[in-house]
Amino acid sequence: MNSSRRAFLAGLGGLALGGAAVSRLSAQQGEVLPGQGETGTLRDPISAGGARERVTHRDNDPFVTGVEKRLHCTCGCTLDIYTCRTTDFTCSYSPALHKEVLALEDQGKSADEIVAAFVAKYGEKILMAPKPEGFNLFGYVFPTLAVLLIGGVMFAILRQRTRMREVAASAPVPVPPLPRGAARAVVAAPPASAEELSRLERELKELDP
């Protein structure tokens, strides 16, 4: 029994070793076969959008991405350089502009200096938003100023008018002389019934839904 069990375990060990050797061999073979193994090759790489470069640590550097988000891609997409290079993978402009940013960073330039270098090279339209200076500053503040100004004027006029109306309403109204017997009729008017009061209340509520 003992020998047969030992023989069985030895056989099992041999099988395991053999299996491992086979799997190593197939893995080695897989590296060179298309579509198989650890890093198999694609059957149709063009359909996957062409070759991409490996991402480096600097591609995710907040300094670099921060600068790129302030600059427009020149491909006509209306996106910033960072978003364009990580979105429109057919764009050839944004990767080139990214490399320009990296090169300027290598020269030890600050974010503002890199942006200024881009403006000097490509013009003001490279900026995602114009600098709030000169006429552009007017562009930034005009809508808010217009709203505040119109709101202020509207408030002042309406306040004046409502006050005038309040004053007019509080002034004593001259009562025209009543015909004979009418005063008595007014004085003698019966109090409102419960039904009338509830109707009045209902209508007042409707006025204030």
């Binding site: 959008g49 062409g50 995710n60 997409c77 978003t83 003001e124 114009p130 930034y140 709203v147 709101g151």
Partner: protein, 681 residues
């Protein structure tokens, strides 16, 4: 079929011009029999344009590539639903779609409008037919969808891959329906001005139309955001693109109108302002069409450039001059019935709400056109992107959010100090608690804290309104709270539907605030390799690249990259992102690649945040993949906000219920005159 299509367009032009000319002159000279002819012409216009649409659809479905439009936007292997939706995929087809839907709305307006407004209808028909005729003229003289090619290509160009999304089937029609239906309220406004019937009658007649138009615009804009998010792959849903802005402009002015119209209905105020708003909304809808089709401003959405921009510019200017001149001539007749009694009243709050809505619309328009203005003034080209719009619009938007909460708390006519104290205490406390809580939790983006604090204030306002109403019904009718709430909404649909719309807006604002906390990174991964990213909530997501596979599907070769995702060590599944290379098949067995490969984003959503995974491509044609991983907080709430807003809008529109603000008296000018004459004077 092109012959039939062209014939239908020419017939439509004649019918449209007949309706326009006779509509104006017949009504003017008091010829009721001509009014009847105009109504019939409106129905005929719709029928004839339907024939044109059917002709183009037949060309699309039968792959008649001799038609330039069919060649440009379809191919033999394009899925059938995109062939049908290709009707609005290009400039020429979209113009035909526009004219046809407008004629349909015009026919519905003639058919459904109650008889008491009969006096206005010939003018309404004339205005809608004029606008439809303009679109038909553009098609016939500058952008004919039935234009033939000198030779018949074996296959079409195909549809742009980014348009091959279910969003393409529903987003443009919804937006178009919103734009187009604004013409009906505009037509009623012009009819009221021309006929000098300037009481609230025309306002009553267009109530459903304005709501419908606003609702379609809301759905269209939200679907547009969704489409941009899932299809374009840049990880956002709003980029302040000129065409996005163009859709927002009429939505803002229509929102202002929906508020200010209540003041005219209840108090007889703001008549001039309402006229100005409805005319402005129509002009802005045409402006949007001009922006999209003229190429005057760079936009990712623009159709191919052509000379139709000049047509639209001319029409826009002519419409603006004629409409506002007409308004000017009727200015004195639009005097308010009563005047504002107090600055502390709901009327005043609505006035300032209108100022802000129009102010935001102006600032969006200003930003959109500022590059042109700057170039004209300084001679320097500039670009105006999201940083500009965010700086200018966010403060105005927050003020608007605050007023959303203030409006319902103030009484009509004049609020007392006691009323203000009683109404404001809970909403203000709610807002402050939210803001303090967020600060205590460590949130240091102060704009987001203000936005969420204000959202808390508005939620407090809305909650208080619903709670008080429900409690009152519970006390009065001994209904359970749930039944009381249901009946409260059902009996006051306009008011409580409006509050639900406001709730939708609050959800939008909260979701937009969440966008400020977006985190992202790029990574290159071999199969089996992992990378981790921490979300704003502190969760650690680990992405393990599983591999890349390629297969064929419908009209494309798909390259699919798969990522195993774990959150805080627990698996949440596999997310796939794709590259799609579309192809056409000009002959059996012959395959041509069409367009550049497009990206399909892998998205995993929950109420907290979205995982947004983009497969950027492979290194040297291997399975080593380049990815962009983005964590977008609260994006699901954008779509939830959209649904809540639409539900609220539908409740408001739903027929029946007690419509607050309905005048207790008949419109004498309408009933009396028609009873005497029996027909339109």
């Amino acid at each position: 079929m092109t012959l039939l299509g062209n014939f239908a367009l020419w017939t439509a032009l004649l019918v449209g011009l007949w309706a326009a000319v006779i509509g104006f002159s017949g009504r003017w000279h008091g010829r009721p029999e001509l009014a009847l002819s105009v109504t019939r012409a409106v129905y005929a216009l719709f029928a004839v344009l339907l024939v044109a649409v059917a002709s183009l659809w037949q060309g699309l479905i039968r792959h008649d590539f001799n038609i330039e439009y069919v060649y440009s936007y379809t191919s033999r292997n394009l899925p059938s639903y995109y062939i049908v939706s290709a009707l609005w995929a290009g400039r020429k087809g979209s113009l035909l779609f526009w004219a046809t839907v407008l004629s349909m709305f015009a026919a519905l307006a003639q058919w459904l409008t109650p008889a008491r407004y009969r006096a206005l209808m010939p003018y309404v028909a004339a205005v809608t037919s004029s606008v439809a005729s303009f679109f038909i003229i553009v098609m016939l003289f500058a952008s004919n969808p039935f234009q033939r090619l000198p030779v018949t290509p074996p296959d079409g160009n195909g549809l742009n891959p980014q348009l091959q999304n279910i969003g393409m089937v529903i987003h443009p029609p919804m937006l178009y329906l919103g734009y187009i239906s604004i013409t009906i309220p505009f037509a009623f406004a012009i009819a009221a001005l021309l006929s000098r019937r300037l009481d609230t009658g025309w306002i009553q007649a267009i109530r459903k139309w304005t709501l419908m138009s606003w609702l379609f615009l809301s759905i269209g804009i939200t679907l547009g955001m969704w489409w941009a998010y899932v299809e374009l792959g840049w990880g956002g849903y709003w980029a302040w693109d000129p065409v996005e802005n163009a859709s927002l402009l009429p939505w803002l002015t229509m929102s202002a109108f929906l508020h200010s119209v209540m003041i005219q209905e209840k108090r007889g105020m703001l008549k001039r302002w309402n006229m100005t708003l409805i005319i402005g909304s129509f002009l802005l809808s045409i402006f949007g069409t001009f922006i999209t089709r003229s190429g005057v401003i760079a936009s990712v959405h623009s159709f191919t450039q052509s000379n139709v921009g000049y047509f639209f510019l001319g029409f826009l200017l002519a419409s603006a001059i004629l409409s506002y001149t007409l308004l000017y001539t009727r200015w004195d007749r639009l005097e308010a019935d009563v005047h504002l009694e107090s600055m502390v009243s709901r009327e005043a709050a609505f006035l300032f709400n209108n100022l802000l809505l129009v102010g935001v619309a102006f600032s969006v328009l200003w930003g959109t056109l500022f590059p042109i203005l700057s170039e004209a003034v300084r001679g320097t080209k500039i670009a105006v992107g999201p940083p500009f719009f965010n700086k200018v619009n966010v403060p105005l938007g927050l003020l608007l959010l605050a007023l959303t909460g203030v409006g319902p708390l103030i009484a009509w006519r004049k609020a007392s100090t006691g009323n203000l104290r009683r109404q404001f205490i809970w909403p203000v406390v709610t807002g402050l608690v939210v803001a303090i809580l967020l600060l205590a939790l460590g949130m240091r983006n102060y704009m987001a804290v203000v936005a969420l604090g204000l959202a808390g204030f508005v939620v407090g306002t809305l909650g208080q309104e619903f709670a008080r109403g429900t409690r009152a019904r519970h006390r009065m009718y001994q209904e359970s709270y749930l039944v009381a709430l249901g009946r409260l909404i059902a009996r006051n649909r306009r008011r409580y539907g409006g509050y639900i719309v406001h709730a939708g807006m609050v959800i939008y604002f909260c979701a937009f605030a969440g966008y400020a906390f977006k985190t992202e990174m790029e990574a290159t991964l071999k199969p089996g390799a992992s990378v981790s990213l921490k979300s704003p909530y502190g969760h650690v997501y680990t992405f393990t690249h599983l591999g890349v596979s390629q297969f064929e599907q419908l009209n494309r070769v798909v390259t699919q990259a798969s990522v195993q995702v774990t959150r805080d060590g627990k698996s949440i599944g596999v997310v796939n992102s794709e590259k799609r290379q579309h192809f056409s098949e000009p002959a059996p067995g012959v395959r041509q690649k069409s367009f550049e490969p497009s990206t399909e984003v892998g998205i995993r959503s929950n109420l907290q945040e979205d995982l947004y995974i983009v497969y950027a491509g492979s290194v040297a044609g291997t399975e080593e993949a380049v990815y962009r991983f983005t964590i977008n907080p609260l994006v699901l709430w954008v779509w939830i906000g959209g649904v809540v807003l639409v539900v609220g809008g539908l409740i408001t529109m739903w027929p029946g219920g007690v419509v607050s603000g309905t005048p207790r008296h008949k419109q004498a000018g309408y009933e009396v005159q028609l009873a005497g004459s029996g027909s339109a004077p």
